[in-house]
Symmetry: C3
């Protein structure tokens, strides 16, 4: 038996974060809170969502439980929910998830979790560079890069953090120095990534949200977003592209 | 000779209400105010519009008069009018309608009313259930139902008023009890309707508008919207769908 | 060497004004400020842009200089710039334009100005009627006319200034008298123009911007927009259409 209450904003954020990569997901209701993770069908990116128990208005579970959810349907219905609405999620038996908001009760059949693609192990990555910045600034940089190219280079060194994109006749560099960043360890790293994935990740975030980037060289990047005033943590791990230079 | 002045908001509302069902309509300028009604080409729905004389800023007619109007054209031009603009409608001869707003005078040829599809008789319906609610809430319920199915069931009984939609793997119930409704007689009734029509009807209304629903069992429903602060009454009568269960 | 700083709003306005007609343009950095002009490929319209030196935050040029710019690319990237951002344009050598805003540096290859279509001579036009009005009103009139026809007649006489459009069953007249206009010389003139061009021109302007119209009879019209609080002057010259009556 699961019975939790959260804000519409929180539900919309979690749902948006996951549908960026997959349409079905396993959601774990653990003692410490909600957890979910999944890799996209192309095996290029992973999403890891954590909502601590305290971020919910009410968090009642009689035991730790895993459900399989059609995220596309929840995402669709979440568009009818206002950010300030309170939303109640109820699972009374194995077969149905109830989503209650305002005068509406939405019921959707659960999916057998074992029928959903096996969950990824979270890789242990040693990433030398750590950059903490405003997610809104990052989003703007990716939007600008997207006008130039479908891939970007993230580069970190003593002089700061750079996002670079190169077109046939033009190029763009986003550059923040240590003093402009919220936190920066000056680590040396450089990898290339797909803009399409990054754009998709940015959709959950806005100005005021905190983004921590862990970067290596020709290595996956970890993008950790702290969302909804810190009440939700959404992490994306994205595989690098091979530079053909 | 007709010479009336109304707000842009009122004109836009009337026009929106009618184009939901037909592209040409007869408009009656009566002693008591403007009246129009029409059925859609599929004979599934009827719209009845009434704007009392007092809702106009100026209402001058030398005798009761009926004109035939290309509503699509008026709807199109009404998009150039702001809600707060004052709009003057003038008919000096049988052939032309003038719409004046700001520095603009728009003229459109009238249609011979006898060339427009015969107006429906308003049916006498005995509908046991009466529900009064905020039109904005209704609109949200229909928008949510639309994500699940193309038909909804309206159901009324002692426990309140319900709007239900059923998809293959999910379902939604909007439920308001007597205390949540503005007025409710607890009458027993249940009918199924097309979501597409209901969505179209809702476009005239918003939060704060009053909606009265008269419901029967496998019978047409009457949806009476009080719009523009009560200055316009728009009623839709919608035929039920047959449940194939 | 060019090094100038302007607001995002100003850059966006200049760029929007030029891409209305051409995708590549010569930009002159003169002692007195920025100047550019171009005719569209169909030879129907000309744009003339002038930004006085004082409209820039910083205006440093070591000598007068002409660059060839891919305006479509600048327009594209300008969508990533906020109106309130400060934007720095830098040309250090013949080959590259740098556009710096926030933490972003955008570089685009310059085009050899001699490879861009020869600039037009600005025609000397004797236009009897002069009309000064709010650009927002003009924009609304063109938007309304656009719903009726693809051409409009501009007409000026003692009774004021008119914009007229005629459809098959409807027509629209926008009419402002001398007292409603900001300035008006009552000159007699009448010409017909393409709505598509006028709509395109209006995109740079909004309510509060000043528009001066110089009109003749079956003659090109001059539309002079004062934009961004008077800091930019954008003039369009549009050839008339021949009336086939």
């Amino acid at each position: 038996m699961i019975d939790v209450i959260m804000t519409g904003e929180l539900l919309k954020t979690v749902t948006r974060a996951i549908v960026a990569l997959v349409s079905e997901a396993r959601i774990h209701f653990l003692e410490k809170g909600l957890h979910s993770r999944a890799v996209d069908p192309a095996n290029v990116a992973m999403v890891i969502v954590d909502i601590p128990k305290d971020s919910f208005e009410v968090y009642n579970i009689d035991e730790e439980k895993t459900i399989g959810v059609d995220m596309d349907r929840i995402f669709d219905i979440s568009k009818s929910i206002s950010t300030k609405d309170l939303v109640e999620l109820i699972v009374e038996d194995e077969s149905t998830l109830k989503v209650k908001f305002g005068s509406v009760e939405y019921k959707v059949a659960l999916i057998d979790p074992s029928a959903i693609r096996k969950e990824p192990r979270i890789p242990e990555l040693e990433l030398p560079a750590k950059i903490v910045m405003d997610a809104g600034e990052f989003k703007k940089a990716i939007a600008a890069a997207d006008k130039i190219s479908d891939q970007v280079i993230f580069r970190s060194d003593k002089e700061g953090f750079r996002i670079e994109a190169k077109g046939d006749v033009d190029s763009i560099v986003f550059h923040m120095t240590e003093t402009e960043l919220i936190e920066f360890n000056g680590g040396e790293a450089r990898s290339m990534f797909s803009v399409d994935y990054l754009k998709e990740f940015c959709k959950v975030a806005g100005s005021g949200d905190l983004l921590t980037i862990h970067l290596g060289t020709n290595y996956p990047v970890r993008l950790v977003f702290e969302l909804v005033g810190g009440r939700a943590k959404v992490e994306y791990i994205l595989a690098p592209r091979i530079e053909s230079e």
